[in-house]
Amino acid sequence: MAITTDHTRAVADGAHSHGVVPAGSRAERKTSFDLADIPVPTGREEEWRFSPVARLQPLFAEDLGAGGVLTTVVEAPEAKVEIVGKDDARLGTTGKPGDRTAVTAWNAAQEATVITLPAEAVASDVTSVRVEGVTKDVTAQHLLVRAEHHAEGVVVIDHRGDAMLNQTVEIVVEDGAHLTLVSVQDWTDGAVHASSHRARVGRDAKLKHVVVTFGGDVVRITPDATFTAEGGEVEMVGLYFADTDQHQEHRLFVDHAVPRCKSRVTYKGALQGVGAHTVWVGDVLIQAEAEGTDTYELNRNLVLSDGARADSVPNLEIETGEIDGAGHASATGRFDDEQLFYLMARGIPEVDARRLVVRGFFAELIEEIGVPSVRDRLIASIEAELEKSMSVITGIAPAAAGEAEQA
């Protein structure tokens, strides 16, 4: 990949961070179901230091409502959907909340939507969960997606409209099951969304976890995945596109607690406009007993205009020497004017050339997602985002003059 990785150029205002080792091990992070154990953050805490805590404040409250979103599930014929009380024994099995929004979401939600792909069933269609914001009442929501042993299927959670949503998504992938879970954040302006994804991956099971974030004022997703038996595989793919004043944060944690599991993390984001802020934190913990672990994580950011800021912090903790592979890469680059020049020198107008470069940046990732309906939607959304930046470019100055200043 030839995007510019010169960090001084990456973000003109020097607001780029890379590889900062967080204080303390991820294994020591406090997790609890009890509100009292995880107080309202000040913003100085490791897990909140990049976040706009003021804008997230309403989601830290103990009492959250339930009526702000309308949830519609269209399930595959093989899948089963239930609404259950919070006392259902299947809830809360994927680990404890690890930060304030996660613990308030857990405690405030009174019921949960449970989607089950029954044992050995191969879903013939995508199961789609549409979460539509209808009022700005602060709302807690709990979803549980279960792929029973040797089940296979795709579940897409699609967020739209305007909402103040604090969400838990529990994901259980039992032995031998293959689950693809996609979460699309396509909110309108104004939405604030925190979501704790907590996944358990069983023996020889595979989870493909896809996050796509375009809309909303503040979106903060924290996917955790823990392997519970050998042979598990997790592939986490993320794509985000932040505009003016949007905050998009993705904090991942992959816990290699058992031997011989594999994880791959690939997140890519584009930023444009003043105040666009993205945060990617990738914690991977390889515990002492997790021999034969194979892990790699990558984050790349493409900064399309001045005043945008991308924070990228990969963090790999290795407690055993007996691993197959472990690595990470992180790079944040300015839009490469040399690429633009090359394409324009072949007669391609600036607007089209930019489009080609940005599409190219995301191309591989879009193919990796592998869910056709999501892919088409994604391509359309990227086009729409680019349309915004193009109108900025074409509105300011003749192409040549505008570029000269940026070079």
């Binding site: 030839a2 690429q339 090359y342 324009m344 391609i348 600036e350 470069v357 995301f362």
Partner: protein
């Protein structure tokens, strides 16, 4: 007859310390069908001339004119220059990840011609041109220049020259980094383009070996940002044997 005319061209490059003058009055006229070789020491400004003609934003024209058939090239944006018929085969072609060669070629051809090429013939034309240049068909699906070897990048540049059919092509050290076979293949590509389209060629090189395949009508010695001497093909031989000593160190000093 189409003509590319460069008059008293002065160009500065943007540096951290401010603009730095590189070209100091270049005069050059190229008629279509003609091949002009430019030879000169490292840092004399040959690539700067090529980049300035293509409109690279890093280079500022401080005075002088460039016209193509009387049209003011310097007033055009980079893409307009290409559409007007100017082509630059770069010394260091840029990698564009995620953009396939096939998509790139079609997009550029459409932009240059102002209409999409006929679906049926275009595919064949690309295939044939790639075969002529010994470029494996699999390159169509690869990202532009990404992971290409030096020689593959140069062949990909000449592939574009053949397909886009420019009126004037500037070849910046297209021969460097090529082995003997590749040099011949690439030279044949340039000669085909010359035959088929009567393109005017400005060929920047350090070595006469490419000039044995591509016969120049004129040879220009480029020193310290301007043309120091002009002559026929025999001048190239002399330069290769004697070097640039007789031009360097006399009069103006090297800026490098």
């Amino acid at each position: 007859m189409p003509t590319l005319e460069i008059r008293d061209l002065h160009v500065s490059v943007d540096t951290k310390e401010g603009p730095k003058p590189i070209l100091r009055g270049v005069d050059l006229t190229i008629n279509s069908g003609e091949t002009h070789a430019i030879m000169g020491p490292n840092g004399s400004g040959k690539s700067t001339l090529a980049s300035a003609l293509a409109g690279h934003p890093k280079y500022q024209v401080t005075s002088g004119t460039v016209t193509l058939d009387g049209e003011d090239v310097l007033a055009m944006t980079v893409d307009e220059r290409a559409r007007a018929g100017l082509f630059l085969a770069m010394q260091y072609p840029v990698e564009v990840p995620g953009v396939s060669v096939a998509n790139f070629l079609r997009t550029a051809k459409t932009a240059i011609d102002g209409e999409a090429p006929a679906l049926r013939t275009w595919g064949k034309e690309v295939k044939a041109a790639m075969a002529d240049l010994r470029i494996d068909a699999a390159f169509s699906e690869r990202s532009v220049n990404e992971g290409f070897s030096g020689g593959e990048k140069k062949r990909h540049e000449i592939l574009q020259m053949e397909l886009f059919k420019p009126r004037f092509a500037i070849l910046d050290e297209t021969d460097s980094g090529l082995d003997v076979d590749a040099l011949r293949v690439v030279s044949e590509g340039v000669n085909r383009a010359k035959q088929n389209t009567d393109v005017g060629v400005l060929l920047i090189t350090h070595y006469t070996r490419i000039l044995r395949y591509i016969k120049p009508d004129f040879v220009h010695v480029f020193v310290d940002g301007r043309i120091a001497e002009e002559g026929g093909p025999e001048l190239a031989e002399r330069l290769e044997n004697e070097g640039y000593d007789r031009y360097v160190g006399t009069g103006t000093t090297m800026s490098a």
